[in-house]
Amino acid sequence: MTGLYVALGTVAVAMCIGLLVRSLGGRTRVSSAGAVPEEVRAVLDPGAAVTLVQLSTEFCGNCKQARAVLVDLAGSTTGLAHADVDLTDQPELAKRLSVLRTPTTIAVDAAGTELLRVGGIPKREDLLTSLRPHLPG
């Protein structure tokens, strides 16, 4: 009998996690992480005011969808670029960046300061609104 309750409880918990991930995932948060590590600075687009650095791994399920959103956004927004960092073989860098899940996207300004952070597939409009103050024009 206990097993039945555990099964029902587990499904209920999983349901809550799923709804939570769906509603909170992809939201843009203001970041206080400061200067990004050298490895990330190296991929920044020198001509852009802000680079969206997508942190991926080989085993990332939703990175393809996240990439589609970011590439499209960067392509249609002046002063915005997109770059990719694969963390599969760089656990040390992942640790310094405090990234536990992929996709995670960080918005970095030309000076190398992390401005924003998005976990999950970014919500396009939400991200663009948060980026506006940092972009030219």
Binding site: T2, G3, L4, V6, A7, T10, V11, V13, A14, M15, I17, G18, V21, R22, T57, E58, F59, C60, G61, N62, K64, L87, T88, D89, Q90, P91, E92, A94, K95, V99, L100, R101, T102
Partner: protein, 146 residues
């Protein structure tokens, strides 16, 4: 380019996996969990097409659905299957050695992941690769200084 799969296949497999894991929790019958562990191992180590659930999908489900051009990478899904295998092995050991709490806990965690995939299309193992990697590199004494 790694292998690409119809994303509805793994999703269907996650549904079957969820049902099997619920049955394991309700009955506490470890041979069923052992069978699920074999399914995880086939999908994770041999390749997704060798998973019996994928065969079931191809034979019974796919013919009834409209074909799709949508494809996803097989690598993340396979990785998640190997994580599931780990939990299933711990669960089997728990039940078989009569440490029922361990068996139940491991099975319940695997169920959370399978259910999230089936109901929400959210692959917990894939998202948490970095976390899992961090936990596993912590225990490794050598080779962490890259």
């Amino acid at each position: 380019m790694s292998t690409q799969v119809d994303p509805r296949g793994p999703r269907f497999a996650a549904g079957v996996t969820s049902a099997v894991l619920v049955a394991v929790l309700v009955t506490g019958w470890w041979p069923l969990l052992a069978a699920q562990a074999v399914v995880f191992a086939l999908g994770g180590f041999a390749g997704l097409r060798y998973s019996p659930y994928a065969a079931l999908y191809r034979a019974l489900v796919a013919p009834r659905l409209a074909p799709t051009d949508e494809r996803e990478d097989a690598t993340p899904v396979r990785f998640a299957q190997t994580v599931g295998f780990g939990f299933a092995v711990v669960g089997v050991l728990g039940y078989a050695l009569e440490v029922t709490a361990l068996g139940t806990a491991a099975t319940a965690l695997a169920l959370v992941a399978a259910f999230l995939n089936a109901a929400f299309g959210f692959c917990l193992g894939c998202e948490a690769y970095l976390l899992i990697n961090r936990l596993s590199t912590k225990q490794r004494k050598v080779g962490t200084a890259r």
